[in-house]
């Protein structure tokens, strides 16, 4: 009888990459599954405009389809769109980027963020991420092989990082600083002085600044502060913009990255292999948005502004103190007075009053003790949500005492 030979290499079952496996699931995802089981929810949990894309933009998209604009564009995006983007920035913010090599059209701001990390970070490089912040930054840094280093911010400082905290986070491995003002989830925006201090810090440590300015036009009090306004930073700055928020085009998935040619080139390389080019149809819509969209953006901004004042007033009245939001369409009230964790607050508010808000902890440890409410909802919805939140808070405070 012949003995069977044991193969020298034992075949292994296919496995998921360890970096992906070890990523924590998004706190928002968990909450989404919970909300999905509840019919008739009033949701202040949505991170997108409640407006439909302005009709003239939709119409431009329809026209693009009618005349058969259904093929690829240049990897960088339509030249016409890049030129219009350059003109838009020059007109509104007075800075210049060359449409031929300093502007890249991406699939939403998200892709642009991913591209920067993948094109810049070496294994083990560190990226400073503000805490709390948009859920994607830290995981995308990790996926790119880097290490996110979180710098906490606090309501007492308007959720703007302290210089000393930034300094403390710097190591020889620090390569970049990821910023997002106006901020999701806190609604914080920077004054020019605050931005100047951050610029000074970044220059001092030769860090690449990645500034996600998706909500720039949704600034309410004071001027729109963009890092593009600091010429001394230009060679180490990537600006990320997109059409989702200001133009209410989330589903079109279109973003813009602007920066020095060397970086845009590298990002384009990754983009060309993974994406080829941003959706052509959406690019034609975006072209119309940049050319003729200012009025509609202003109309929506005004309406958000009225709702912002409304919700701020009422949350403060209820006793959920908030830093007055200055941009985006979020408010980030403290729920510490209820004695609950942010996850407990959000879960119970959903169960008891059918109102969805996002636990602040989903945006980082520094978000604990807060919840994110989006006021990109109709005034009727906000009004009803406030009544329910008040009932919930009063009941639970009464139960405590």
């Amino acid at each position: 009888m012949k003995t069977q030979t044991v193969p020298s290499i034992v075949p292994q079952k296919p496995r998921v990459n360890a970096r992906v496996r070890d990523l924590p699931p998004s706190g928002i995802r968990k909450f989404f599954d919970l909300v999905a089981t509840k019919p008739g929810v009033i949701s202040l949990g949505v991170g997108e405009p409640d407006f439909v894309t302005p009709w003239h933009i939709c119409e431009a998209g329809i026209h693009a389809l009618e005349v058969g604009r259904t093929s690829y564009t240049s990897n960088l995006g339509l030249m016409e769109l890049r030129e219009e983007a350059a003109a838009f920035y020059e007109r509104n913010y007075h800075y210049q980027y060359d449409p031929a090599g300093e502007i890249l059209i991406t699939v939403g701001g998200s892709e642009a963020i991913d591209l920067v990390f993948r094109s810049v970070l070496e294994r083990g490089d560190e990226a400073i991420v503000i805490d709390p912040s948009f859920v994607s930054y830290a995981p995308l840094v990790t996926l790119a092989g880097g290490e996110p280093v979180r710098v906490p911010t606090e309501p007492e400082r308007g959720f703007v990082p302290r210089r000393a905290d930034l300094e403390r986070a710097v190591t020889p491995q620090t390569r970049m600083l990821v910023l997002n003002y106006p901020n999701n989830p806190t609604g914080a925006a920077l004054t020019r002085e605050q931005a100047a201090a951050i610029v000074d810090f970044a220059l001092g440590h030769h860090l690449l600044v990645v500034s996600d300015e998706l909500y720039l036009q949704l600034t309410y009090d004071g001027e729109e502060v963009s890092f593009g306004a600091f010429p001394e930073l230009r060679e180490q700055l990537i600006l990320i913009h997109g059409f989702s928020k200001s133009w209410a085009m989330t589903g079109w998935r279109l973003g813009i990255a602007l920066g020095p040619g060397e970086f845009i080139d590298a990002m384009m390389k990754v983009h060309q292999y993974s994406i080829m080019c941003a959706p052509t149809l959406a690019q034609y819509g975006a072209l119309e948005a940049l050319k003729h969209g200012d009025e509609e953006v202003e109309r929506m901004r005004k309406e958000y502004d009225a709702r912002r004042r409304f919700i701020t007033h009422h949350l403060n009245r209820i006793g959920l103190s908030c830093v007055p939001p200055k941009g985006a369409f979020y408010i980030f009230p403290s729920i510490r007075s209820t004695g609950m964790s942010s996850e407990e607050f959000a879960t119970r508010l959903l169960e008891e009053e059918n109102v969805a808000v996002i636990p602040g902890s989903a945006f980082g440890d520094a978000g604990e003790g807060h919840v994110r409410c989006s006021y990109a909802a109709s005034l009727e919805q906000i009004r009803e949500a406030v009544i329910r939140i008040e009932r919930f808070v009063t009941r639970n405070r009464a139960a405590d005492s």
Binding site: A36, S43, G45, V46, G47, E303, R309, L379, R383
Partner: protein, 162 residues
């Protein structure tokens, strides 16, 4: 933007928003806003508050008709005198002086087609200076006063997103 325009913008979107809420939304003192609204009502800047009804859904039997009217203008009055004679009829909803092939465009409403016919035959065409009329019955209303009246599906938004 002046406070007055800010208030009007909010009320034109939704007239049921209370002065207290308007005050919060424009970030001004409640008393000041209430007073300003009262002033605008008195000065005829705000003329009234109405409900926009979709007649089809409300099952109201109503006939509407747009009528183009050619008139002979009068020395010293132009079109004003004749327009005024027309606008006081209760069935007349709107009266516009327009450029182009005719002079006045009026919108009238009645319960039946007969009502409209009677108005045109007995009241409108017999007015001195009315040279001719052309009536267009409304078959369907799609949008009125900035409000879309036809069924359109609610946009679906996922309830939670980053």
């Amino acid at each position: 933007m002046p406070l007055r325009s800010k208030i009007l913008e909010i009320l034109q979107r939704d007239a049921r928003i209370t002065p207290t809420e308007v005050a919060v939304m424009v970030g001004e003192d409640e008393k000041k806003v209430t007073e300003l609204i009262r002033h605008m009502e008195k000065d005829g800047i705000i003329l009234g508050y109405k409900t926009i009804v979709n007649p089809e859904r409300a099952m109201e039997e109503k006939v509407s008709c747009l009528i183009e009217v050619s008139v002979q203008p009068e020395r010293g009055y132009g079109f004003d005198k004749i327009a005024e004679r027309i606008l006081h009829f209760p069935e007349v909803q709107s009266v516009f002086l327009v450029s182009g092939g005719y002079d006045l465009l009026i919108l009238i409403e009645g319960k039946t087609m007969r009502d409209i016919a009677n108005f045109v035959i007995e009241k409108l065409s017999v007015l001195p200076n009315v040279r001719s009329t052309a009536s267009h019955f409304l078959l369907k209303k799609y949008k009125e006063m900035g409000t879309i009246l036809v069924e359109h599906t609610e946009r679906e938004r996922i309830p939670v997103s980053p």
